[in-house]
């Protein structure tokens, strides 16, 4: 919103603060200034629209002038001179639903001369970014910019009959607007109509057919109030934002329609000499609800601000902003809110804290440490665990990445997830980024191929949420890339899995996905529970190297984290160890042989460790293990150890294994 400094000077008595300084004061006390630009002999202060969303009154110069007057302690000068419009109205206004149009006021003028506006008026409009069109339209825009009351002038000769109807559009009804675009409407859109059809989209734009032209001699001047949310909906559905709609959607003051007409009446007499009012005021409205005053206990106000302020000062501030103040009990005010602050802005005592706080200046409040009891806050074990995982991964050379939560349908297919299993975005940034990721793999895959252009080897990981329709699962996905053709990555990642969750095992996958290496893919298990996947990417997926991935469910990982239990006393009796080498078929699993040995060893087995393997003839492998035996209460004799050893050897032989002794 652009404010003309000269315009503000008209409305604030003896305003002599320079524009730059004024903009700073407005920023501190009212709304954020985005800068001051010279404009001819004027200066334009640009105020951030976002900081005005709750202040319908600040969409006109008069509202801002009231703030400036209050800030500087000057008198506010009202540009509106009260006028009387006696006599019967020449048009009848009917309103279908007063909830959508709380008030519609109109005047009719004849003997109108349409011509360019005087220079001063054009300059004012240009300063605030409005294009001068002709004297009639310019007056409506001037009133809009001055007191935030949008108005519209119809060429009365182009209207059918003498009835103005405010109603919902009929399904499929069309209107050609002043911007030469045609709009097809539906019943959610409010229109101004004559008996023949719509002549304006209520609160947004007028129709081209009834527009003011050089031949216009008689006009209907509309000054109405429309429901904020209805205007907003229609404006966003039609993708049509106008100076009028921007104001109405902030919830304008219905009292203001008459002020608009009064101001326009004075201006029209100046810019269209000889103009004559036809009849009196047409004014259709529902009784305006009078909100109850806000009770403001001054002790409460002091506690909220954290600083004491005298009753006189509070009263002075509120009255400078045209609130009416009554003291209903000692140090308790009853505050009556002016009509232009009621619609949207001020209804509870907290709102008055802001009025007083900003005017005394928040810089007058000294920072104070709160007196609260010392209390240990609730723990967040999940977050702590995720951070431990991060630290461990980083310590092992993995660098953390962040990827987007959006993926394409194409990517879902690459990673073998049904498109229908994804949460879908209705309005994606790019049409193909319309799914929420159910896995971190697509992002990690992209990271691998992107970084392979710059590095021969690298490790990276992400912690992020996989989003399913019914839950969000935090996942840890780590990857290693190497230009060399080896499998080192897989075992580095397996080691990482073992570090993150002691006791995990990896089991070759029974079925693999198309993006996985068919012989280098396994499930990561804790006991029988699947906690993730370890795999090498199918070589067709990776350019110029090999890449492996560890993909874990962090919820499960946290659930199975070992908690330190009671310690085990150190062993008092020596242990005995012996090695065994088992001849295995090419694809016999080290873990399976180990499990068989373990089962045969019995309860004196303390530990079993795989030592090494080496290749034998015919692709057979020799697998060597070291078994350590011991008893808690004595030293095992050589005979006892020998017995266990022979039991294992016999057992393995009868299970079909050959041993190398």
């Amino acid at each position: 919103m652009k404010f003309s400094y000269n315009w503000l000077r008209d409305l604030v008595d003896q305003l002599d603060t320079p524009p730059g300084e004024l903009a700073q004061l407005i920023t501190i006390k009212t709304a954020e200034s985005e800068g001051v630009e010279p404009h001819g002999e004027d200066h334009v202060i640009e105020i951030d629209n976002k900081s005005l969303t709750h202040r319908p009154d600040l969409w006109g110069h008069y509202g801002m002038a009231r703030e400036v007057a209050a800030i500087l302690g000057r008198k506010l000068v009202d540009p509106v001179k009260p006028a009387e419009f006696p006599g019967s109205a020449p048009v009848r206004v009917s309103i279908e639903d007063h909830a959508l149009c709380p008030r519609y006021s109109a005047l009719v003028f004849e003997n109108v001369t349409v011509r360019p506006s005087p220079e001063w008026l054009q300059q004012r409009l240009e300063a605030v970014g409005l294009n001068p069109i002709n004297n009639i339209v310019d007056v409506t825009n001037y009133v809009l910019a001055e007191i935030a009351q949008p108005m519209h002038a119809f060429d009365a000769a182009k209207l059918q009959g003498d009835e103005i109807i405010v109603r919902s559009a009929r399904p499929g009804e069309t209107i050609k607007a002043l911007n030469d675009e045609s709009y097809t409407l539906d019943p959610s859109n409010l229109v101004i109509a004559d008996p023949a059809g719509p002549v304006a989209i209520a609160g947004i734009i007028g129709g081209a057919d009834s527009a003011i032209s050089n031949s216009t001699t008689r006009i209907v001047l509309e000054s109405a109030n429309f429901n904020a949310s209805s205007v907003r909906k229609t404006s966003s559905r039609l993708r049509l934002r106008t100076d009028a709609s921007m104001r109405f959607e902030k919830a304008q003051d219905p009292v203001n329609t008459i002020r608009g007409l009064e101001r326009a009446f004075a201006l029209l007499q100046e810019v269209s000499p000889g103009i004559r009012l036809v009849g009196g005021l047409a004014d259709n409205y529902r009784p305006l609800p009078v909100p109850p005053p806000v009770v403001l206990p001054l002790d409460w106000l002091d506690r909220k601000l954290g600083r004491a302020i005298s009753g006189e000062q509070v009263r002075a501030i509120l009255e400078s902003l045209e609130f009416r103040v009554e003291e209903i009990a000692p140090r308790v005010f009853s505050v009556f809110v002016p009509s232009w602050r009621v619609t949207k802005d001020v209804s509870i005592k907290e709102d008055l804290v802001e009025e007083v706080g900003r005017m005394i200046g928040y810089d007058s409040i000294p920072p104070v440490a709160p007196l609260t009891p010392a209390r240990v806050p609730p723990a967040s074990p999940e977050r702590e665990f995720h951070h431990r995982v991060r630290q461990m991964a980083a310590a092992q050379g993995f660098t953390e990445v962040h990827n987007y939560s959006f993926i394409s349908e194409e990517m879902a297919r690459v990673f073998s997830v049904d498109v229908a299993a994804h949460v879908q975005v209705s309005n994606p940034i790019v049409s193909d980024q319309n799914l929420l990721r159910t896995s971190l793999l697509p992002g990690i895959w992209k990271n691998i191929n992107d970084n392979a252009r710059h590095f021969d080897h690298f490790r990276l990981f992400e912690i992020g949420r996989a989003i399913h329709p019914d839950r969000e699962v935090p996942r840890f996905t780590a990857a290693m890339f190497s230009k060399d053709e080896d499998v080192a990555g897989l075992f580095e990642l397996k080691r990482l899995a073992e570090c993150l969750l002691p006791g995990v095992s990896v089991r070759p996958a029974e079925a693999t996905q198309s993006y996985e290496h068919p012989r280098r893919t396994g499930d990561v298990l804790h006991g029988e529970t699947n906690v993730g996947r370890l795999f090498e990417f199918h070589p067709k997926m990776i350019e110029g190297g090999r890449a492996s991935v560890l993909d874990l469910d962090l919820t499960r990982l946290l659930q199975f984290q070992p908690t330190p239990e009671r310690y085990q006393p150190l062993r008092r009796f020596p242990e005995s160890a012996f090695d065994l080498s088992v001849v295995a078929n090419p694809r016999t699993l080290i873990a399976d042989v180990q499990a068989a040995l373990e089962k045969l060893a019995g309860d004196t087995l303390l530990s079993i460790v795989f030592l090494r393997e080496f290749a034998l003839a015919d692709e057979a492998r020799s697998l060597s293990y070291r078994l350590t035996l011991g008893a808690p209460d004595r030293t095992l004799s050589a005979d006892e150890v020998g017995l266990v050893r022979s039991r294992i050897i016999d057992g393995m032989r009868s299970a079909g294994y050959e041993l190398r002794l």
């Binding site: 509870i348 709102d351 609260t372 209705s426």
Partner: protein, 341 residues
């Protein structure tokens, strides 16, 4: 020759040989030759039987003296030789310490993680709990409960990703305010860092995915003065120096009164420079006293309790701290960038 002469000559010869010896083996040979059980001194002592008793005592004494001297000299010589040999071995054990050390180097944590972690630790030390909320939110938690009803213009400011099932991607971390109030009730001091989404075109300074840190304190009689204290403490810790802050009116439906908090420009100290657009102040975070409607939505009686809330842009803070001028780098996954942290 008399036995004394023989002993003396042996003594002299052995000492000479000792001086000549360059290896431990040679020393051992000399020792065996002179002092061994069948050595030359032992040979001499065999002739003592022929001597008169007084002479025998004298010669025997001389023999012992020589023996001791030779043993001492042998040991000294042995030590000297051993040290030479050890020195030679150590000399041969030279390694090139400028060679690179093998093994993997630690990776880096994402810059946003690092900033977030630092703030989490800071807030925990101030007694705040760390909370989490879902990234997929309902309209209720993201808007309605935060006093942003449908068709409220404030929704314009937060371009929303809507989901086909009617839910949305949270546009801010503020929904966690409501979830935390529902779960724990007052009094409560909490922060909620996390990923948020806005439907915005991406360029060097705009991202559709970024990180925020929500903070809230609800207690009895929480005031603007308390908010100022926390913000000043927090920001001084973040920037590792005393900062000057100011509050000015800002409109956010979930707080009343609402503020924009500015800090005095750290580059120019408030004198005005390009970073602060010559105003001396940099806009840093929105904050305010929690709107009673929000407390009620969280099941808290606003007549009994009140509080303050603030929202900190973690992504923006990381950009300020490291001078990062392109926001897209954060989600770019480029290790050339990420390894710098």
């Amino acid at each position: 020759m008399s036995p004394e002469q023989i002993i003396s000559e042996l003594h002299t010869a052995s000492l000479a040989a000792l001086e000549q010896a360059t290896t431990l083996d040679a020393l051992e040979a000399i020792r065996v030759d002179a002092l061994g059980r069948k050595g030359k001194l032992a040979e001499v002592s065999k002739t003592f039987g022929k001597l008169a008793p007084e002479e025998r005592a004298r010669v025997g004494k001389l023999l012992n003296t020589v023996k001791q001297d030779l043993e001492t000299r042998l040991d000294q010589r042995k030590d000297a030789l051993a040290s030479v040999e050890r020195d030679a071995r150590l000399e041969s054990e030279w390694v090139d310490l400028t060679a690179p050390a093998p093994g993997i180097r630690p990776g880096s944590l994402h810059p946003i993680t690092q900033v977030q972690r630092e703030l989490e630790e800071l807030f925990v030390s101030l007694g705040f709990a760390i909370m989490d909320g879902p990234e997929v939110e309902t309209e209720h938690y993201n808007f309605d409960a935060l006093n942003i009803p449908a068709d409220h213009p404030a929704r314009d400011a937060q371009d929303t990703f809507w989901l086909k099932d009617g839910r949305l991607l949270r546009t801010h971390t503020s929904p966690v305010q409501i979830r935390a109030l529902e779960k724990f009730g007052p009094p409560l001091k909490m922060i909620a860092p996390g990923r948020v989404f806005r439907n915005e075109e991406v360029d060097a300074s705009h991202e559709h995915t970024f990180y925020q840190l929500e903070g809230m304190m609800v207690d009895r009689d929480v005031s603007v003065a308390h908010l100022l204290y926390f913000m000043k403490t927090l920001l001084s810790a973040i920037f590792h120096r005393d900062v000057t802050v100011r509050l000015r009116p800002g409109f956010f439906p979930f707080v009343e009164p609402g503020f924009e908090l500015d800090i005095q420009c750290l580059i120019c100290g408030g004198k005005g420079c390009p970073v602060c657009k010559h105003s001396g102040w940099v806009e840093l975070l929105p904050c305010g006293l929690v709107n009673p409607a929000v407390l009620r939505a969280g099941g808290v009686d606003p007549e009994q309790w009140n509080g303050f809330a603030f929202g900190l842009g973690l992504t923006r803070l990381a950009m300020m701290r490291y001078g990062i001028d392109d926001i897209r780098l954060f989600a770019g996954g480029d290790l050339r960038f990420l390894r710098q942290f």
